[in-house]
């Protein structure tokens, strides 16, 4: 469905994308995970034909995407990273303005707008100006505005930034629904939780390079351990940090410590050590490792600083 072939994009001061190649299948929910400045938005802008690449080619549904190819854009919807709406006009008028750019007939457009407003629970508030909307409402409208022409491919560039958890869940559910209905979705984020929850496949991008790609479970196999051990921060554990460090790398997280077992370490040995030191099992949680851990493993840095 989407072919990204050896794309390089240079800005005067930086190479934002360096020989990026990706293949995204039809109806896939594909994630692009990377820290700020990794080049995610740049790739989105290339996919929609807002920018031209310096090297390489992009095909969407077998049509080449460039700045001058207008037709292929009817197959793609872009949800920009910023809230790309007019603040001073109503939700309805916003959709009218953007819908009219696709040459949708007036009557059809009216129906399409109503449907899309309904699907993001904004129909009742269609006459209010966007300025008065909450962050979550704006984000939902930002998505609705990209779907009026019923595109096959939906590009979502960090569509949940600045949104409360409840709205965020609503957006996730909606995007999953759209994917179920057959839309191919590319979703960029720097939250690994989002990527894990939504994406059937994803690529990790850093400094303009794809450092690995695959399904979440495929990616996690790249780690030298299969579990991480979460240790609560409390009196009992506070004095035993040196003990934990014998079993692997200890990372000081906000709410707890995360222990990444060195290869060859057996969990039974770890639990024996806990018993010997009178540490309650309640302070310990064994988990599947996260993409965060993978990113750290691959780059030596955290996703978010």
């Amino acid at each position: 469905m989407i072919e990204i072939k050896s794309i390089t994009k240079r800005f005067p001061s930086i190479t934002a994308l360096d020989n990026v190649s990706l293949h995204i299948k039809e109806k896939e929910f594909f994630g692009l995970l990377g820290p700020n400045g990794a080049g995610k938005s740049t790739l989105m802008n290339l996919l929609i034909g807002y920018l031209d690449a310096d090297e390489g080619e992009i095909f969407v549904d077998k049509e080449k995407v460039t700045r001058s190819s207008l037709n292929v854009r009817k197959k793609i919807g872009l949800v920009p990273q910023s809230i790309a709406l007019y603040d001073d006009v109503s939700a309805y008028e916003n959709l009218q303005i953007f819908g009219s750019l696709y040459g949708i007939k007036k009557n059809l457009l009216r129906a399409v707008i109503a449907e899309n407003l309904n699907r993001v629970q904004l129909y009742e508030r269609r006459k209010e100006i966007v300025k008065n909307f909450s962050g979550g409402m704006k984000r939902r409208l930002n998505i609705a505005a990209s779907l009026l022409h019923n595109p096959k491919v939906l590009l979502c560039d960090e569509p949940t930034v600045g949104v409360d958890p409840q709205s965020r869940n609503a957006i996730f559910d909606y995007l999953l629904k759209l994917n179920e209905e057959g839309k191919t979705i590319i979703y960029t984020t720097h939250y690994m939780e989002e990527a894990e929850r939504l994406c059937s496949r994803l690529a990790i991008i850093d400094f303009g390079k794809i450092i690995s790609a695959g399904s979440v479970s495929e990616l996690l196999k790249l780690l030298p351990y299969e579990q991480t051990i979460l240790i609560s921060k409390n009196k009992a554990t506070a004095g035993k940090l040196d003990l934990f460090k014998l079993f692997g790398t200890l990372i000081n997280e906000q709410e707890n410590y995360e222990l990444k077992p060195d290869s060859g370490i057996k969990l039974s040995g770890f639990f024996k050590a806990l018993e010997d030191n009178n540490i309650d099992y309640g302070s310990i949680d064994i988990n599947r490792p996260t993409l965060e851990a993978l990113f750290l493993h691959l780059t030596g840095r955290r996703l978010r600083d």
């Binding site: 920009p80 953007f98 040459g103």
Partner: protein, 437 residues
Amino acid sequence: MKTVLSLIKRDYILYWHDKPAVSLTFLVPIVLIYLFGSIFGGSNNTPTGIKLAFINNSDSKIAKKLESVLDTTKAFRLVKNYTDDKGNTVAFDTNSVKDYVKKGNAIAALVLPKDAFTDTSTSFRIKFYYDPKNEMEMQVVEGLLQQTIMSQMPNVFMASMQHKAETYLGMDKGMSFNRKIASLVSEYYGIDTAKILKWTTYNFSDSAMSDTSKSKANFFSDLLQLDKEQVVGKEINNPNATRSVGGWAMMFLLFALTGSSTSLFDDNKSGVILRILSAPVSRVHILWSKYLYNISLGCIQLAVLFLAGSVFFGVDIFSNVFNLILIIIAAAAASTAFGMLLASISKTAAQANGLGTFLILTMSAVGGAWFPTFILPPFVQVFSKFTIVYWSMEGFLDVLWRGANTAEILPYVGILLGIAAVVNVFSVWRFKKGNLF
């Protein structure tokens, strides 16, 4: 084309929701046009009811006549007495009248002295007492006073002339000179020689001067009447108001179109341009829509403001409406080019608006939007010709004042469209190079 139309429609929807922009385009300039048009060219531009303290110490008939003329003209309101400490109404004397002015109760005191005009006076004497802080008002008062005397009592001058002749030529020669003049006037104007010779003994009423054939009776009263007549084109009701209308309209046209062009920056920042370009829309579409929208908005704005001028001041916009429309389109096109140039050379909206405000004010001053360019120093006038405002104003005034035909305004239209073309080529080149969108 459909895409461009959709984009233009978008601009109008957004514009309509932007109430400050709407009022800056129409309401504010209309108010300014009304105010400045009233000051500089309003239908009633002579002041009325200027308060003057007044004493007439002269017995001469001519002084009496002046007093009654001043009493009846609308320009002045004469105050002849004041209320003293005890609440009595007292007629002015020289001291009290000075005091009255000093206290700021009147702009000046006008005193006709005892010898204002005697049998031998060679001129009419008037004395003013005034406070220097009223210098400006005094000039108006003097002007009005002279105008009143000239138009209402021209015979003062005939009488002065006769007295002068008698004083300087000697009684005999002078009288003979006066007799000859009188008989000439009498012969041609049919006024009794005796009356002409004996000004001072006559009652200086209009009937005395016009007791014969009416058509000739105006010999005296026309003597000093200022009749203004336009030497160019058709009668126009209100030339100065026309300049105000055109000038303010041009200035606010430039402001409106600069504002509209710099909205490209906001669209870029909010990501709306990205959204628009992610639809089947090209950058060329956006530029075309912006140009056409600006030009159409500019034409509407100018048309509305001229219409306001016509309602307020009777500026005649309809008898030469086709040529007015031509020059309006050319002015709107050139101003659009100006706004787009600013957007293309600036890095931020604030920069564009700052530079724009500076350039617009300069161009308006230098280009003749506020006052005619001839009052500027010659070297500044050279710069006038490099401004859009200048050529637009010349065009407007030629159409509205001189009733210029299409051939006559073609140079202005040509220059404005030429400026627009050159500037547009440059700004499109800049847009292509820059990353505004």
